[in-house]
C-alpha cells in the first residue's frame, strides 16, 4: 500500500486555506459580537446553527450553489470552523477583567488599540484553543470532500468503501487519524503553554499586589 503523500499534502493544504479564512473571519465576527451588543445573538446564533447542520447536508447544499471542487469544500470547512473561533474570541474578550480595559482606556488607548494591544493578546490562549478545535474538526470533515469532487485523503477511503478494500481505506484513514491526533496533541501543548504563561503573569501580578499590601 503506497503512502499517498500527494493526497496528504492536498488534504493539509485544503485545511490550511480553510483555517486561514476561518481564523480571520471568526475573530472579526467574535469582535463584532463583542463590540455590537445587537449583533451578539445573530452572530453566535448563526455560527451555532451552521455547526448543527449535518456536514453532508451542508456540503451537498453548497455544491448545488458553488459546484464541484475544492472551492466548495473550503467554503464548507470555513463555515464549520467558525463556531469554535467566534465563540472563543467572544468569551475570551468579554471574560477579561474590566479593570484591565479601564486601565488601558485610562492610559489613553483608542478602542482599536485596546483591542489589539490588550484584549486580543490576553484572550489569545482561548482563541487558540478555538482554532485547535477548528483544525482538528476540519481535518476530519475534509474527508467528505471526495463526495463533492474535492481532493484529499477522502478519495482512497471512499474508493475503499465502494470496493470493500480495507487496505485502500486504511491508506487514507491512517494518515487522516494521525494528522488529527498530531495536530490535537501539538496544539494542545501550545495551548497549555499559552495558558500557563498567562497564568504565571497573573500570579506574579497578584504576588506583587500582596507584597505591597503587607508592606
Amino acid at each position: 500500500m503506497p503512502v499517498r503523500f500527494d493526497l496528504m499534502i492536498d488534504h493539509l493544504t485544503i485545511v490550511a486555506v480553510a483555517t486561514a479564512f476561518s481564523v480571520v473571519i471568526g475573530i472579526a465576527l467574535g469582535v463584532a459580537a463583542y463590540w455590537f451588543k445587537y449583533l451578539e445573538r445573530i452572530i453566535l446564533g448563526f455560527s451555532d446553527t451552521v455547526q448543527t447542520i449535518p456536514s453532508l447536508a451542508l456540503l451537498s447544499l453548497l455544491m448545488i450553489v458553488f459546484g464541484l471542487g475544492n472551492k466548495t469544500l473550503i467554503i464548507g470547512l470555513v463555515l464549520y470552523a467558525l463556531l469554535p473561533i467566534v465563540r472563543n474570541t467572544f468569551t475570551g474578550i468579554s471574560g477579561l477583567a474590566p479593570h484591565l480595559r479601564e486601565a488601558a482606556k485610562g492610559m489613553g488607548m483608542s478602542k482599536i488599540q485596546v483591542l489589539v494591544k490588550v484584549e486580543l493578546p490576553l484572550a489569545f490562549p482561548l482563541i487558540f484553543s478555538g482554532i485547535k478545535i477548528a483544525v482538528v474538526t476540519s481535518l476530519g470533515i475534509a474527508v467528505m470532500g471526495v463526495l463533492i469532487g474535492a481532493g484529499g485523503l477522502g478519495y482512497p477511503i471512499y474508493r475503499g468503501i465502494q470496493t470493500r478494500n480495507s487496505a485502500l481505506i486504511l491508506s487514507g484513514a491512517v494518515p487522516v487519524v494521525l494528522l488529527a491526533l498530531i495536530f490535537d496533541y501539538g496544539m494542545s501543548k501550545i495551548e497549555y503553554m499559552l495558558t500557563k504563561r498567562a497564568k504565571n503573569k497573573n500570579e506574579k501580578e497578584r504576588t506583587t499586589c500582596e507584597t505591597n499590601l503587607s508592606a
Binding site: T49, T52, I53, P54, S55, L56, A57, L58, S60, L61, M63, I64, V136, L139, G140, I141, V143, M144, L147, I148, G154, I157, Y158, G160, I161, R164, S166, I169, G172, A173, V176, V177, A180, L181, D184
Partner: protein, 210 residues
C-alpha cells in the same frame, strides 16, 4: 412539488429510518455513557485516560469508522448503529463526568456529614445537580449522530443520506435539497427540543437568583 408528490413515500420512509438510527444509537450511547460517567467520577485518575481514549476515537472521521464497521459487520443497519453509538458516547460521557465532578464539594460533604449513604448522595444530590450538564451532553450527542447518520446510506443502512447520495450520483438537485434540508431541520429541531428539555430539567433552585 411534483417531485415531492412522486417521492413522498421514499422521503417519509427515509426520514423515519434516519430517526430510528438516531434514536437507537442515542439510547445505546446513553446507556453506556451515563453509568460510565458516574463510575469515572468515582475513579478520577482512571477518568483522565478513559476520556482521552474516547476523545481519540472521536477524532476518527465518520466515513473511516463506517468503512471499517462495514467490513466487520457487513452491509445494513448494524455497522451504522455501532458507529453512531460510539459517536454518541463522548459528549454524554464527558458531560456526565464533569457535571458530577463540578457539584459543589460543600454540598457533598454536607450530604455525607448529615448521614446520606453514597447511593443517596448520588441520587438526591449529585445527579439532580448534574442533570442539566448531562442533558447538554445528550444534545451534542444527538446533533453529532444526526449528522453522521447521513453517511449511513453508504453502508446500506438507509436514512436521509440515501436521498443525498442518490442526488449526488444522478445530479438530481431535488434529491440533494430534500435530503439535506430535512437532515438540517431534524438536527436543528432536536437541538432546540433538547435545549428546552435541558431548561425544564434544570432544578428551579439553580435558576432563581436573589
Amino acid at each position: 412539488m411534483t417531485f415531492m408528490a412522486k417521492n413522498s413515500g421514499l422521503i417519509i420512509n427515509e426520514t423515519l429510518n434516519h430517526m430510528r438510527l438516531v434514536g437507537i444509537s442515542t439510547l445505546f450511547g446513553l446507556m453506556i455513557s451515563v453509568p460510565l460517567g458516574i463510575l469515572l467520577s468515582r475513579r478520577r485518575r482512571a477518568a483522565k485516560y478513559v476520556l482521552a481514549l474516547v476523545g481519540t476515537v472521536q477524532t476518527i472521521p465518520g466515513l473511516v469508522l463506517l468503512g471499517f464497521a462495514m467490513i466487520v459487520f457487513g452491509i445494513g443497519s448494524k455497522p451504522a448503529i455501532v458507529v453512531l453509538t460510539l459517536y454518541a458516547i463522548l459528549p454524554a460521557l464527558r458531560n456526565t463526568y464533569t457535571g458530577i465532578t463540578e457539584v459543589d464539594p460543600g454540598c457533598i460533604e454536607s450530604a455525607k456529614g448529615i448521614g446520606m449513604s453514597n447511593i443517596q448522595t448520588l441520587l438526591k444530590v449529585e445527579l439532580p445537580l448534574a442533570l442539566p450538564s448531562i442533558v447538554g451532553g445528550l444534545r451534542m450527542s444527538v446533533i453529532y449522530i444526526i449528522s453522521w447518520a447521513t453517511l449511513a446510506g453508504l453502508v446500506g443502512a438507509g436514512g436521509l443520506g440515501d436521498l443525498i447520495w442518490t442526488g449526488l450520483a444522478t445530479y438530481e438537485n431535488n434529491f440533494i435539497l430534500t435530503g439535506a434540508i430535512l437532515a438540517a431541520v431534524m438536527a436543528l429541531a432536536s437541538g432546540a427540543l433538547i435545549g428546552l428539555l435541558q431548561n425544564i430539567m434544570t432544578p428551579r433552585g439553580l435558576k432563581v437568583r436573589r
